[in-house]
Assembly symmetry: C2
Homo-oligomer: 207 residues x 2
DNA sequence: ACCAGAGAGTGACACGGCGTCATGTTCCTC
DNA sequence: GAGGAACATGACGCCGTGTCACTCTCTGGT
């Protein structure tokens, strides 16, 4: 019998991971099928086949599972965003790459999951405020701040600007998904031009 | 005894109106104090002193009361928006007036109600999709379309543009409310310049 | 003035979801 | 292999939900 123990490969650990995953998968399906508002913790539990108490070993509430799913989305997008930053040498280039990447990501997630969204329903795609989503916001704001410092952009209110950019991307992104065919390039072009066009016109901060 | 009967002044009608109003007021308070997610229909009922069955004579669910409140907000804002349109003779003027009006409206509502919003919590301020909110969107889109027709703005995608403008106003508006002091003029200036600056750079549609 | 009936208010009730906890089971450590 | 820690289990008490049979009050017609 070998004493070789791969890190976190005890049977205990594995079922723990498996259970958590099972709950997340079930929750994703349930939210997609019933809609977030209607779905209950019991619906999720039933689909996993676990006992009700087990659920509460992993999440405190339906809300918390939802956030975990949302956080997961943001966490998957963040490295992409980071890559855009590292691959770009100008502010314009970064912005264009980031927006395009976001729209592609959105379109991809959308068709992977086939979210039926009952009219203005909550869905865990970057819309809710989670720690990971907060980091995405920070990253965008930082990118803008750096661009300002290095003269790649005028001295404007980076906080408002980041908020505005994310808001535009979210909203136009949503509308993009409702058009047929889904055209991420056109949407990205629209958003990028709006932002880059508006940037020079923005009120300047005192230095 | 006079036979003069003011329209809809039967006792029946009056209590009906009063009850509906009582429920809305109670709901507003409960949502503000507990947050939308946590509040229950029972909380609202208890505050009104009515019987539980009565609530369901007026609204089908907690969600429906919430929408009524949200709709109310949009309904109060719409005439303001309309007035901005009628008072302006240029597209720029309309946009500036509308954004400024929205931010003033937002600041006013915010302090009237003293909404404590438990971190990313839903609140019935123009965020949720209601019939009245849909009409606001339509109105903005129409204003843009008309401006395009009359040559006051380039031939761009009015749908994306309206979505983008509303998104920016919402998001920057929210951040504005979190700064001290609340400066609606500065926020409006930011948003207006961003949009008007970006407008000429937007991709044109085929005529 | 009166009455019949419509329309609204009432709250007990059956149902089901919620989160907990005492108990059982499984794996890990020594 | 024994002891114990960690986790799974599901019955349970609690509470919110939406309904419905019943009551009461207002109204319109005679």
């Amino acid at each position: 019998m070998s004493h070789v123990t791969v890190l976190t490969s005890g049977k205990r650990e594995q079922t723990k991971i498996a259970n958590r995953q099972a709950i997340l998968v079930a929750a994703r399906e349930v939210f997609a099928e019933l809609g977030y508002e209607v779905a209950t913790v019991r619906d999720i539990i039933r689909r996993t086949g676990l006992a009700s108490g087990t659920f509460y070993n992993y999440f405190r509430s339906r809300e918390e599972v939802f956030e975990a799913l949302a956080d997961d989305g943001a966490a998957r997008f963040r490295p992409i965003l980071r890559a855009c930053w590292e691959a770009s040498d100008t502010f314009d280039g970064y912005l264009r790459a980031a927006i395009q990447a976001y729209f592609d990501f959105l379109a991809d997630e959308h068709e992977t999951w086939q979210v039926r969204r009952p009219a203005g329903e909550k869905h865990p795609h970057m819309r809710i405020q989670t720690p990971e989503m907060e980091r995405v916001f920070e990253e965008v704001r930082e990118a803008f701040s750096k661009a300002i410092e290095h003269g790649g952009a005028p001295r404007v209110d980076a906080d408002y600007l980041a908020a505005a950019c994310i808001a535009i991307a979210r909203e136009v992104g949503d509308r993009m998904l409702e058009r047929r065919p889904v055209n991420t390039a056109a949407a990205a072009d629209f958003v990028v031009k709006l932002i880059l066009g508006g940037l020079p016109a923005l009120p300047r901060l005192a230095p």
